[in-house]
Symmetry: C2
Subunit: 192 residues, 2 copies
């Protein structure tokens, strides 16, 4: 049965990437795999749970080795990895942000960001909100980038400015990090 | 014809709020209004343009008088108005963020945020990126809040933590403002 579960997730990733999130239904997946819907529900009790597994698979495929040492560089590394993992598959940002909101998957990035802030000695009250603020920025920015890119490549007519202005991920991330640095423990406030 | 255009937007807002963004199609709108699709395309050359008009209508309905004086209070006022306007209609955050990404509507909040930052004397290079960083945070946070709330009220099974943790909008916004304050003109760096 374990084998089947991986097959279902693998095929779901392909349906997502080829046809988009709206096309990723239990029925379609069953018909692509030649399985009854009940066989899919055996592994995934609801569509929400299936989407959670697909989101976690996307994040796992996007994992990169960690190199940075300073807290702010570590946060940048984690945020870029998350962004790039979502951009690598059609509707990846929409999927991962949705799954995170459901609380049924895609919790890894939040946990890593919290760990980095805790390691750096941030006050406990700031660890959760700091991680979530970074996450909301990354989700908001990446959703915009991906929506504009996909609309452009689908041939949809979009505003001229839409594609030009999405290249400021590092600048926006820098502003959020500047806000965190104000609250960093003494001696760690100056960012590299 | 002007009359018809407003009717179409009005009905589209109702379809969105009753059935969600995925159900808001030109075909459905035509059948609800007893119009040929061509009559809708007369006013809205594409679905993207229609969605832009619907997003702008949601934002117009959410407008509130402005009271704040200091730059950071003005930004808070504008960000809360945007969040509340999106939360007031089903899938409002998804719609407004998508339309903004297309560059075919929902540009008002970005323009107001830029105006506030420019008024406060921020360096020109920071006005655009500062406004967009705030916007990405608001979109990311509000999308999460709305997704969790809607899933809960639809009876979908979601993680226990999902509804508890969405109440930190003011704290996250405060962190982004702290980051902006670092770059504020001398004499305006301390936030009220």
């Amino acid at each position: 049965m374990r084998h089947h579960r991986d097959d279902i997730v693998e095929r779901a990733v392909r349906v997502l990437d080829d046809h988009g999130l709206a096309s990723l239904t239990m029925r379609r997946l069953g018909s692509e795999l030649g399985l009854q819907a009940s066989a899919i529900y055996h592994h995934f009790p609801s569509k929400q749970v299936l989407l959670g597994a697909v989101a976690d698979e996307l994040l796992a495929r996007g994992r990169r080795p960690r190199a940075a040492g300073a807290w702010d560089d570590r946060l940048v590394e984690a945020c870029y990895e998350l962004r790039d993992a979502m951009l690598a598959y059609r509707d990846g940002a929409d999927l991962v942000a949705t799954v995170y909101a459901f609380g049924l998957g895609a919790q890894g990035p939040a946990e890593e960001l919290e760990e980095i802030l805790a390691d750096a000695g941030f006050d406990e009250s700031l660890v959760g909100v700091g991680a979530r603020t970074l996450l909301h920025f990354v989700f908001g920015h990446t959703f915009e980038e991906q929506t504009a890119m996909q609309a452009g490549s689908d041939g949809a007519v979009i505003g001229d400015a839409a594609l030009d202005r999405t290249g400021d991920f590092d600048l926006g991330l820098g502003l959020v990090l500047d806000g965190l640095a104000v609250h960093a423990p003494a001696g760690r406030r100056v960012r590299g």
